[in-house]
């Protein structure tokens, strides 16, 4: 067991730290993610039926009773689990672990749409293309050419902006250097007005995420399930500090 854990320690790579103490819940990350990743909008009726395709959601719960009531905002996205429940259940390896990046990859063109992975995700982080969603011309002009546009019947989810990871690595290789901390920033972290989202290499003990993940406020969502999430939350709210 210890060996197993050690191995997992060694194999982790990309990670994200979300400081819920300074996350204001403003939803800029949600919009940024959607605009970066060609996430289609689905309209009011589909949103009302729980079919929004946001890869990232801010989970908002209320705490306390009036007048001490206050919401908690928790950005929820694919946790890029080290031992992901979505991966073994996919019959075609469309949901598969990237050995290089140590993230969960969704290979759109291999997906046949069993939706098993989505059932099995305890974070409800996966979304399904129920239809072919239209982006009426000329609005399709802004679609990001680095990200595949998904057609109907395909699962999708947060990729940690893998297109930026690949691009960042190729850029570094072309310049003949290693990828440095801060080279690669996913769209959500880039937009976050309070810099609550930090992305980086967990295998590098000196990286910003590694340092932050060692905070005593750090916790992982549903850690008891043993999925080894790569998204680390820093406990926030009024209980902390002061």
């Amino acid at each position: 067991m210890a060996e197993l854990l050690k191995e997992q320690e060694e194999t982790q790579k990309w990670g994200m730290v979300i400081d819920m103490d300074i996350c204001s819940g403003c939803q800029a990350c949600v919009t940024a993610c959607s605009m970066e990743n060609n996430v289609p909008f689905v309209g009011e009726d589909e949103m009302a039926y729980g079919r929004g395709l946001q890869w990232m959601r801010i989970r908002r719960y209320w705490e306390g009773e009036y007048p001490e009531v206050t919401p908690t905002h928790q950005p929820m996205l694919c946790q890029q689990c080290g031992s992901a429940p979505c991966e073994p259940v996919c019959p075609t390896f469309a949901s598969v672990h990237s050995q290089e990046e140590q993230i969960n990859v969704q290979v759109y063109n291999r997906c046949i749409g069993t939706r098993y992975c989505a059932n099995n995700c305890p974070f409800s982080a996966r979304v399904f293309n129920w239809f072919d969603y239209e982006t009426p011309a000329p609005m399709n002009s802004y679609l990001n050419p680095d990200v595949s546009v998904r057609r109907r019947g395909i699962m999708e989810k947060c990729t940690f902006c893998v297109q930026r990871i690949v691009h960042g690595r190729q850029q570094a290789a072309a310049e003949g250097r290693e990828v440095e901390d801060g080279d690669i920033v996913p769209a959500c972290a880039q937009a976050c007005p309070t810099d609550a989202i930090v992305f980086g290499d967990l295998s590098d003990p000196e990286s910003k995420v590694s340092k932050m993940s060692r905070s005593d406020r750090a916790f992982k969502e549903l850690e008891e399930l043993g999925t080894q999430p790569k998204v680390i939350y820093l406990k926030g709210g009024k209980s902390y500090g002061g």
Binding site: R57, P88, P91, T114, Y116, F131, L222
Partner: protein, 483 residues
């Protein structure tokens, strides 16, 4: 000849029951032998009599299959899965519910036939064929769903392991992959198991038919002549298959349960799911056998000779036993969750009984437990076919509700309450589900006029072995061990 058989039956009905032997004969098919030719003719007559009403039903169900199943499915393929009511977080809806339901139904056919055959339960003889057909057609109806529920059904073949230029294989760790393999195995073996005992009957039909029927029977009878060597081989083959198919059957439904049990979903992730699903499948399957026997008895000619109250009685007892077993497992599910103490599981199970859709849960318990327990103790109920028909239909409604509780209702209340949802099946989904029911009935309708629904040779074999002997002043039934 046909007229004779009929008059014979009518005569039996009106005949005054005088002796104990008469009573035994009336009760037990095995003790009520009939000349071979007459019996053959009765079966042939049942098979070849087609009324106008029959054709109306066939055409009606054919159209229903085309529209409800393939029409709706085609519409869904062209538009997208969104026309079904599934949503985040309930990604599996009544497609999978109905899939599990059909696989369950298909279970009992084999169970009734193979287990009873292995244990030499003599009362099985007249209805093994009907049960086996139910297995095959139930599987055919069920096996459509793994395709129907795919988002991109046009690439379903990626699940099949075949060497390709992409260096890609399917994921053998996935329960869905096991499903694919298990179901195809089961479909193949149950079809063979259906076919083997059919051969002598097909040969019988071949000898009594002309035209296209003759060609059809000739082809499928594989040149059966009824020599002793053929009989020996056939008995051996059936014997092997009857034994072999039982583990296949158990494993298939265990594997279907693994679709859920290997998942991380609270309320699914349970070691009890394997046997729980098997018991549930047998309960629903045996009930379905009774339902079908009732319908056959009502609609098919000469069937009240073959299918008697003793069969309803016997199957009724089985249903009662399995209803109790099911209730035990149901209770166990709660016991385990209580023992395991996982909050999420507890929450899901509580919400089943108290949530906005609690009526499904109560429907399940009433149909699966309350009704069989209240009624099936009573011999009179068990021997009243129309009551049995209603009760068994209700049991299957209850079993459908069970699967509905396990799949969409469990998925709707997982670990993230922010995302909880309620699932509303849409007309397209319901249409496809009804479509497979129509397909099942349609196939059965066709089969009822194409193959002998009663394994004539088995009945005759049984009747040869049974006799009524006079011991002192009483008459007792006796069985000679065959072979």
């Amino acid at each position: 000849m046909a007229a004779d058989a009929k008059s014979l039956l009518n005569g039996r009905k009106t005949a005054h029951v005088e002796t104990e032997a008469e009573e035994l004969r009336k009760e037990h098919l095995m003790l009520d032998p009939m000349p071979r030719d007459e019996m053959n003719d009765m079966v042939m007559e049942a098979m070849t009599t087609t009324t106008k009403t029959y054709w109306v039903w066939v055409i009606g169900f054919g159209i229903a299959v085309a529209v409800l199943l393939f029409g709706a499915w085609g519409y869904m393929i062209a538009t997208g899965m969104g026309v079904a009511g599934i949503r985040r977080p309930i990604y599996w809806g009544i497609f999978i519910v109905t899939f599990v339901f059909w696989i369950g139904i298909s279970h009992a056919g084999t169970f009734v036939s193979a287990i009873l055959r292995v244990f030499k339960a003599e009362f099985r003889r007249p209805f093994t064929r009907a049960a086996e057909l139910m297995t095959t057609f139930g599987l055919a109806a069920g096996a459509i769903y793994p395709l129907v529920h795919l988002g991109r059904v046009w690439v379903f073949y990626w699940m099949i392991p075949y060497p390709n230029a992409r260096w890609l294989w399917p994921n053998f760790r996935s329960a869905l992959e096991w499903d694919l393999l298990a179901i195809t195995t089961y479909l193949l073996s149950s079809t063979i198991y259906l076919f083997l005992p059919l051969i002598p009957d097909l040969a019988m039909a071949r000898d009594r038919s002309t035209g296209i029927r003759h060609f059809f029977y000739k082809t499928f009878a594989l040149g059966w002549r009824g020599t002793e060597a053929e009989w020996t081989r056939l008995r051996k083959a059936i014997g092997i298959f009857a034994f072999a198919i039982i583990p296949v059957m158990f494993s298939v439904h265990t594997i279907v349960s693994w679709d859920f049990a290997v998942g991380q979903v609270a309320g699914w992730h349970s070691t009890i799911f394997g046997p729980y699903f098997i018991i549930g499948a047998i309960l629903s399957g045996v009930s379905a056998v009774v339902t079908i026997l009732y319908v056959l008895r009502k609609t098919l000619k000469n069937m009240d000779y073959f299918i008697r109250l003793e069969h309803f009685d016997g199957l009724g007892k089985l249903i009662l036993i399995f209803s109790m077993a099911w209730a035990y497992f149901f209770f166990n599910e709660y016991l385990l969750s209580w023992y395991g103490g996982e909050a999420a599981v507890k929450q899901v199970l509580t919400l089943h009984a108290t949530g906005p859709t609690a009526w499904v849960w109560y429907l399940m318990l009433i149909c699966n437990v309350a009704i069989p327990w209240l009624f099936l103790w009573n011999k009179k109920v068990r021997r009243t076919p129309w009551l049995m028909f209603i009760i068994t239909l209700l049991v299957n409604v209850g079993m459908y509700a069970e699967r509905y509780t396990i799949i969409p209702l469990t998925l709707g209340h997982q670990r993230s309450p922010f995302d909880w949802g309620i699932y509303n099946p849409t007309i397209v989904e319901v249409s496809i589900a009804l479509g497979t029911l129509c397909l099942f009935i349609f196939l059965y309708l066709l089969a009822s006029r194409a193959i002998p629904l009663v394994p004539v040779w088995e009945v005759q074999e049984g009747q040869m072995a049974h006799s009524i002997r006079k011991v002192g002043k009483t008459e007792v039934p006796s069985v000679t061990e065959l072979e």
